[in-house]
């Protein structure tokens, strides 16, 4: 039994060893505070999911970010300093996100943070960034709660800006499909039973009602649902002019397939997610035809940056962007660089002031942040989206009119 003593001694040694290991590698990487030094790169921490169920988004974000980095560096960097990207896998998990933010700020000494895919992660990381007074550009997380939080304590979240669209922007993106394209009087909302889809539904309802369009039915399905006979029967019974689909994860595909097979006589438009990704559509065959969807960007001359970016992306990585992840990450980094260049100094307060007052060009349009809640504005003259329709596995842009490929392609069985 006395031997147990040794057991704990060894345990202690192991424990201290691990700690020291952490310590020693820390001292290697913590390379000084020589900020504003033109020799030092300008470090941007990317907080993105690279594993877990949102894992595939992360790589696309990095791919978009790298193009921004190359372009900025080729143009002489940010006030002469080269841009360095330091990604961290937040695994779309709140605790990992905070760990990442702390590591990037305290150990890697980044100058700014960009990222987060999940709203929950963004909300937790905001506080870390605000405490450390590090600029944080939220690129993907969309919920209103972020800008509400900034709006409530604008001086504390002075350096936090939301490049990502708001919930209302997601639905505003779809609205032309109802008003201009189909001239619908009624619509049906089919979505998955998540908070996000419910938020979308209630905002959509408000916007549609303002445009004189009535909601005639809604269905919230499980995130693991596979059988949609009941939903489709309910849609047919409600007889809307358009179906708005908020099923953005796995069940979206069987829903779309069943929707196609059942020949529901009205067009469907999808807000975002699985049915807007080329990879999903690739092998669906005819069953993906006639699905319309909203996107934040596509290879059309929306600004003069857009087409070159999409071409560069395709050429460099051999796949098409999704119009979400890579675009918003690219834009965030560009905005950051442009703002510092405009401010003419690395001073954070000057940067915040510039971000609050100036306008910035991105792939998706012109970014102008709200002065109180730091939300990028949406609509004509600001950031705007596009609507497209799948036909033969290709995305045909159907809105806005100045860049569209064709008018809405109608299925033979639509009323």
């Amino acid at each position: 039994m006395v031997k147990r003593n040794k057991l704990f001694a060894v345990a202690m040694v192991l424990f201290l060893l691990v700690g020291t290991l952490g310590c020693s590698s820390q001292s290697q990487s913590g390379s000084g505070d020589s900020k504003d030094n033109p020799k030092q790169p300008y470090k941007i921490g990317l907080l993105i999911p690279m594993s877990g169920d949102a894992g595939d988004h992360g790589q696309i974000m990095i791919d978009g970010a790298k193009i921004a980095q190359e372009e900025i560096n080729a143009a002489g960097g940010i006030l002469g300093r080269q841009v360095e990207l330091i990604p961290f896998d937040s695994a779309a998990n709140t605790e990992k996100g905070v760990t990442g933010a702390k590591k990037l700020i305290e150990q890697d000494k980044v100058d700014a943070l960009v990222g987060t895919y999940r709203t929950g992660v963004a909300l937790a990381v905001m506080d870390v960034a605000a405490d450390a007074k590090i600029p944080f550009l939220i690129s993907m997380a969309a919920s209103d709660e972020i800008r509400n939080k900034i709006g409530k304590d604008n001086s504390y979240y002075k350096y936090v800006f939301k490049v990502a669209p708001d919930v209302a922007d997601y639905t505003a993106n779809l609205l032309p499909f109802l008003t201009d394209i189909t001239k619908a009087k009624t619509y049906y909302y089919a979505a998955e039973n998540t908070a996000w889809a419910k938020q979308l539904g209630s905002v959509m309802k408000k916007q549609a009602e303002a445009a004189g369009i009535k909601l005639v039915g809604e269905a919230y399905v499980d995130t693991s649902a596979t059988e949609f006979t009941a939903t489709i029967m309910d849609i047919k019974k409600a007889n809307p002019d358009v179906v708005v689909c908020g099923i953005i994860t796995a069940p979206g595909v069987p829903f779309a397939k069943q929707y196609y097979d059942a020949k529901v006589p009205v067009p469907m438009v999808v807000t975002s997610g699985v049915l807007t990704i080329p990879n999903t559509i690739k092998n669906m065959g005819a069953q993906s035809d006639y699905i319309s969807f909203g996107l934040f960007n596509i290879d059309k001359p929306i600004t003069d940056l857009t087409v070159p970016f999409w071409e560069k992306f395709q050429e460099k990585y051999g796949y098409r962007g999704t119009g979400f992840n890579e675009v918003k990450t690219y834009d965030s980094i560009r905005i950051l660089a442009e703002a510092i260049n405009k401010a003419g100094s690395f001073d954070k307060d000057a940067l915040a002031k510039t971000l609050e007052t100036e306008q910035f060009k991105g792939l998706a349009g012109t970014y102008k942040f709200d002065e109180t809640d730091h939300q990028a504005k949406w609509g004509e003259g600001y950031v705007n989206g596009v609507l497209a329709e799948w036909k033969d596995g290709k995305a045909q842009v159907i809105w806005p009119e100045n860049v569209r490929d064709s008018a809405l392609i109608r299925a033979p069985w639509w009323k």
Partner: protein, 286 residues
């Protein structure tokens, strides 16, 4: 009319639920282990057919057969290399199979990446019989599922292996005494379970979609069905599968569409609490 349509949809779905749950019920009965990696064979079946159809361009039937055969072989290997070592320790088996399910998911991400994949349909279109819509794809999948289930049932009833399997399931010790190679029976049963899970995936992945975490939901469904039907009762499993599918479809139309999963868990929890041996189980003390 609406009711008939819903019942038909429920029955079509039920056939596939039965197929998925059948393998698990055999494994549980014969091996007396809680196999939390059962869903992995479903995922593997889907990825194999994705690989054969999309990457190699095989036709659906050939790809399907190759996929289920591969799943069968992997089942054999897993039983031999992993489970056999610790099969007597219930807790270790659960931890191991849980870890294995996770590991395999990560391997799939490593090999095929994590994005959603889709497969082309094997039968397109819908039959309209007096206003009742029948998707051809679901009809085909149901038919194949029923054929497979009937084959398994015949196999259990008629063949020597089937009889030995039932003997092991009922009286493991007795089976030893009459000279049955229990290990062999267990290994083959485990592989047959993998085969059935994979065949369900082959039939369903062109209807749904393919992604690394796709196996968890069928695993839970299968467990729910097996528990509802009574552990080790083949008859109970099949009845429970159809009952569950019908409840899902009917409740989502007449009550609320968002509640099918919640109601599944609630029903499952209630059944375990009120009648732990399941609807058709007769084993004492659980």
């Amino acid at each position: 009319m609406a009711f008939i349509q819903l019942v038909i949809s429920g029955v079509l779905q039920g056939g596939l639920y039965a197929l998925i749950a059948l393998g698990l019920t055999l494994t549980l009965g014969v091996m007396r282990i809680t196999d939390l990696s059962y869903g992995v064979y479903y995922t593997l079946g889907a990825y194999f057919s994705f690989f054969f159809i999309i990457k190699l361009g095989f036709n659906f039937v050939l790809a399907g057969i190759l996929s289920v055969v591969l799943a069968f072989l992997i089942g054999l290997l897993v039983e031999r290399l992993l489970l056999r070592r610790i099969i007597s320790d219930e807790l270790s088996v659960m931890i191991l199979t849980f870890a294995f399910a996770y590991a395999l998911e990560e391997i799939i991400v490593f090999v095929w990446g994590s994005p959603f994949r889709t497969l082309p349909p094997y039968a397109i279109g819908t039959l309209n019989i007096g206003g009742i819509l029948l998707e051809k794809q679901r009809l085909v999948s149901f038919a194949v599922a029923v054929v497979l289930i009937v084959l398994v049932l015949l196999f259990l009833k008629k063949t020597r292996f089937g009889k030995a399997l039932r003997m092991v399931s009922q009286q493991q010790h007795g089976a030893y005494l009459v000279g049955i190679d229990v290990q062999l029976i267990q290994r083959l049963t485990f592989a047959v379970g993998s085969f059935l899970a994979a065949s369900a995936a082959v039939l369903l992945s062109p209807i749904y979609l393919v992604y690394p975490a796709m196996g968890w939901s069928p695993l839970l469904k299968a467990f729910g069905i097996v528990i509802l039907g009574g552990m080790g009762s083949v008859k109970g499993t099949i009845i429970a599968a159809f009952a569950l599918a019908l409840i899902e479809v009917l409740s989502s139309y007449y009550i609320n569409q968002s509640l099918s999963q919640v109601s599944f868990f609630v029903v499952l929890i209630l059944v375990i609490l009120i009648r732990p041996s399941g609807l058709f189980g007769n084993r004492e003390g659980v």
